[in-house]
C-alpha cells in the first residue's frame, strides 16, 4: 500500500497533463460504478429476505420492503439448520486435518527433501487441477468398499465426505506450506541438524513456531472450499448428512418456497464464509494467490 502511494507521488509531476486531470476523476468514477453493479445481487438478496410473504414476489423485488420482518429468516433457519450443523462438522475438523497434513508435506518438500521430491510435488500439483468429476464414479465405489472393509459408514456420511475433501485438498495445502517454508533460511534447519536434532524435532521446535500465517491461509482456504462445495456433497452424502449447500439447493429448487425464504437461506448459508472473509481477508487473499502457483 505504502509502496503504491509513493509511486503515485513520484510519478505525479510527469503526469500532470490534460489527460491525467481527467483520468483522476474517471478512475474512481468507473470503479464506483462497478461497485454498484457488483452489489446489485446483494441488494436484492437483502431486501427480499426482509419482506413479508405478501411482498415477496419477483414483480416488486427492486422495491424496499413496505413492512420489514425477520419472519423469512426464522423459517429459513429452521429449514437450513441441520445442513449448517453438518457443514460445521465437516469443515472444522476437515480444515484442521488438511492443515496438519499440508504442513508436514510442505516441510519435507522444502527442507527435508528426498530424491524425486520435485517429481512428487509436480504430481501432487496435477491433483489440484483435475476436475473432480473424473474420479467421482469410482470414488463412490471405493467409499462403499472401503467402508465395508473397515466396518465404518464412509459412503453417505460426514466422515467419508471429510476424507474426500482432505485427500483432494492435499495438493493445494502442500503447495501453500511449501511456498511459505521456502522463505525460511536453510541455515536454520542446518544448524538444528548439526545440533543433532532429527526431522521431527526440527519441525516441532524450528518450523512450527513460525508457521502461524501459513496455517491461517490453509485453514481459511480449506474451510471455505469445504463449506461451499456442492459436487462432492451431492455424490457422497445421504439426506441425513447433507451439508448446507445441498440443503440450500433443495430449498431454492422447490417452487413452493417463497422468495423471501430462499434469499434468507442463501444469506444464512453464506454468513460463515463471509465472516471469515471480512475478518481474515488478508489470509484469504494469500490463499487465492497461492492457487495461481505464485508463491
Amino acid at each position: 500500500m505504502s509502496v503504491a502511494q509513493e509511486t503515485v507521488r513520484r510519478t505525479a509531476p510527469v503526469e500532470r497533463t490534460r489527460g491525467a486531470a481527467v483520468a483522476r476523476w474517471v478512475r474512481p468514477a468507473l470503479l464506483l460504478i462497478f461497485v454498484v453493479v457488483f452489489l446489485i445481487p446483494v441488494y436484492v438478496l437483502l431486501v427480499t429476505s426482509f419482506k413479508p410473504l405478501s411482498e415477496a414476489d419477483p414483480g416488486q423485488a427492486w422495491n424496499l420492503p413496505k413492512v420489514w420482518t425477520t419472519e423469512a429468516w426464522s423459517v429459513a433457519w429452521e429449514k437450513l439448520e441441520p445442513g449448517i450443523v453438518n457443514s460445521v462438522l465437516l469443515a472444522v475438523p476437515g480444515s484442521l486435518i488438511s492443515a496438519v497434513l499440508g504442513s508436514m508435506n510442505g516441510y519435507v518438500l522444502s527442507k527435508w527433501r528426498f530424491p524425486g521430491a520435485d517429481v512428487v510435488f509436480t504430481l501432487f500439483l496435477f491433483g489440484m487441477f483435475i476436475p473432480y468429476q473424473g474420479v467421482m464414479i469410482p470414488l463412490v465405489q471405493l467409499m462403499v468398499n472401503l467402508g465395508e472393509t473397515l466396518g465404518v459408514d464412509l459412503y453417505g456420511g460426514i466422515p467419508g465426505l471429510t476424507l474426500a475433501h482432505v485427500v483432494y485438498g492435499i495438493p493445494i495445502c502442500t503447495l501453500i506450506f511449501r511456498n511459505y517454508y521456502v522463505t525460511i533460511p536453510d541455515e536454520l534447519v542446518e544448524a538444528s541438524r548439526v545440533d543433532g536434532a532429527g526431522m521431527l524435532r526440527t519441525f516441532w521446535s524450528i518450523i512450527l513456531p513460525v508457521s502461524g500465517p501459513a496455517f491461517a491461509v490453509v485453514i481459511i482456504w480449506q474451510f471455505t472450499s469445504m463449506w461451499n462445495d456442492f459436487l462432492f456433497a451431492v455424490f457422497l452424502t445421504a439426506p441425513s448428512s447433507w451439508p448446507t449447500t445441498v440443503m440450500l439447493n433443495n430449498i431454492a429448487g422447490a417452487q413452493t418456497v417463497p422468495y423471501s425464504q430462499q434469499m434468507a437461506a442463501a444469506i444464512l448459508a453464506s454468513i460463515p464464509t463471509m465472516v471469515v472473509y471480512v475478518l481474515l481477508g488478508r489470509f484469504f487473499m494469500r490463499g487465492l494467490m497461492a492457487g495461481a502457483l505464485k508463491g
Binding site: 427492486w62 470414488l139 431454492a252 487473499m285
Partner: protein, 295 residues
C-alpha cells in the same frame, strides 16, 4: 547408507499423502477410464472391455453435441469476460487510489460465497420474462429506458450460455483483478521511469514495458479460469437445474449417473472433462516445473 538415513524420514512423513494421491487421484482416474472403456451400462453387471466404443458412440447423441457446444460458448464468454473485466479493474487501480482496500473487498467478496447461494439470486435476476412480464434485470432495463436490451437470458436458445457466464464473471473477475494488480505492482518503477526518460509516452510505456511483464500473470489467470469453466457444475445446478437449455458435460454426467444409472456413460463424459483440462494443464505444470528448476 548415511545419505539414505538423511532423507528417509522425510519420505516416510510424506508417504501417507503420496499413497493417498496415488490412490485417490491417479488410481481413481485410471479406474474411471476403465469404466469408460467398458459396457457397464447398469449398476449390476461387471462390464467387459469395449475399447473406445463409448468415447466414439457418445458423439452420436444429440444431447452430447449440445452440451459440448454450450461448454464452449460458456468458456469463451466467461474466460474472456473475467479476464477483460479483471484486467480493467486492476488497470483502474494500479497506480493506487483512495479507498483501494474498500474497492478490492467489494470486487473480491463474491469469491467467498458458493455458486449455490448466489445462483438463488441470479436465477431470479435473469428471469426470462420480457415486456409486460419483465422482472429482474429485464425490469431494471425497462426502468433505465433500455427495453431493447431485454432478452431471455439463460433461456435464450442460441446464446443462453453467454448469459450463464455473467454470474461466473461476477464471481471470478475480482480474483483476476487481484492477480493483475499483483502483476502491475511487480513492474519496477525504475523501468517505467527510464522508458519515460527515453521519451516514451504513458501509452508506450504501458504497451512496451508493462504489458509484456503481465504475460505470466495472464497465463496463470487463463489456466485457472479455463479449468473452472470446463467443469462448471454448481452454478448451472443453482440457476437452472437439469434443463437441456443449459446442459453442459458436468450436468450430463450427473444425470447419466443418477437418472439413467449408466456408469459407463457417466465415466465417459467425466473422462472427456478430464482430458479437456489435462491438454492445457499438463503442459503448463511441466513448463512451470522446468522454470522452477532453472531459477
Amino acid at each position: 547408507m548415511r545419505r539414505v538415513r538423511r532423507w528417509l524420514p522425510g519420505l516416510l512423513l510424506v508417504s501417507p499423502s503420496i499413497v493417498a494421491i496415488a490412490v485417490f487421484v491417479y488410481g481413481l482416474l485410471g479406474w474411471n477410464f476403465k469404466v469408460a472403456m467398458s459396457d457397464q451400462h447398469d449398476e449390476i453387471s461387471q462390464g467387459s472391455f469395449v475399447r473406445l466404443e463409448n468415447f466414439i458412440g457418445i458423439w452420436e447423441q444429440e444431447r452430447w453435441g449440445i452440451s459440448v457446444r454450450h461448454a464452449i460458448v460458456f468458456t469463451v464468454v466467461f474466460v474472456g469476460g473475467a479476464l477483460v473485466l479483471g484486467w480493467f479493474l486492476a488497470f483502474l487501480m494500479e497506480k493506487g487510489i483512495r479507498g483501494e482496500g474498500g474497492f478490492r473487498a467489494v470486487y473480491l467478496f463474491p469469491m467467498a460465497v458458493s455458486f449455490i447461494a448466489t445462483g438463488v439470486v441470479w436465477r431470479w435476476l435473469m428471469n426470462s420474462g420480457t415486456g409486460e412480464r419483465a422482472v429482474g434485470l429485464n425490469s431494471l432495463l425497462h426502468y433505465l429506458g433500455l427495453d431493447f436490451l431485454q432478452w431471455q437470458w439463460f433461456r435464450d436458445p442460441d446464446w443462453g450460455m453467454a448469459a450463464m457466464a455473467i454470474p461466473a464473471i461476477w464471481q471470478m473477475s475480482g480474483y483476476v483483478m487481484a492477480l493483475f494488480l499483483a502483476g502491475f505492482r511487480g513492474v519496477p518503477e525504475e523501468l517505467r521511469e527510464s522508458a519515460r526518460v527515453d521519451g516514451c509516452g504513458e501509452w508506450q510505456v504501458y504497451r512496451y514495458i508493462v504489458l509484456p511483464m503481465l504475460r505470466p500473470v495472464t497465463l496463470s489467470a487463463l489456466i485457472i479460469l479455463g479449468h473452472i469453466s470446463l467443469k462448471v457444475f454448481d452454478l448451472i445446478v443453482a440457476v437452472s437445474g437439469k434443463q437441456i437449455i443449459t446442459d453442459v458435460p458436468a450436468i450430463f454426467m450427473w444425470t447419466a449417473v443418477f437418472d439413467s444409472h449408466d456408469p459407463a456413460k457417466g465415466a465417459t463424459i467425466a473422462a472427456y472433462i478430464v482430458l479437456s483440462v489435462a491438454v492445457f494443464v499438463i503442459p503448463y505444470l511441466v513448463w512451470n516445473a522446468r522454470k522452477g528448476k532453472r531459477s
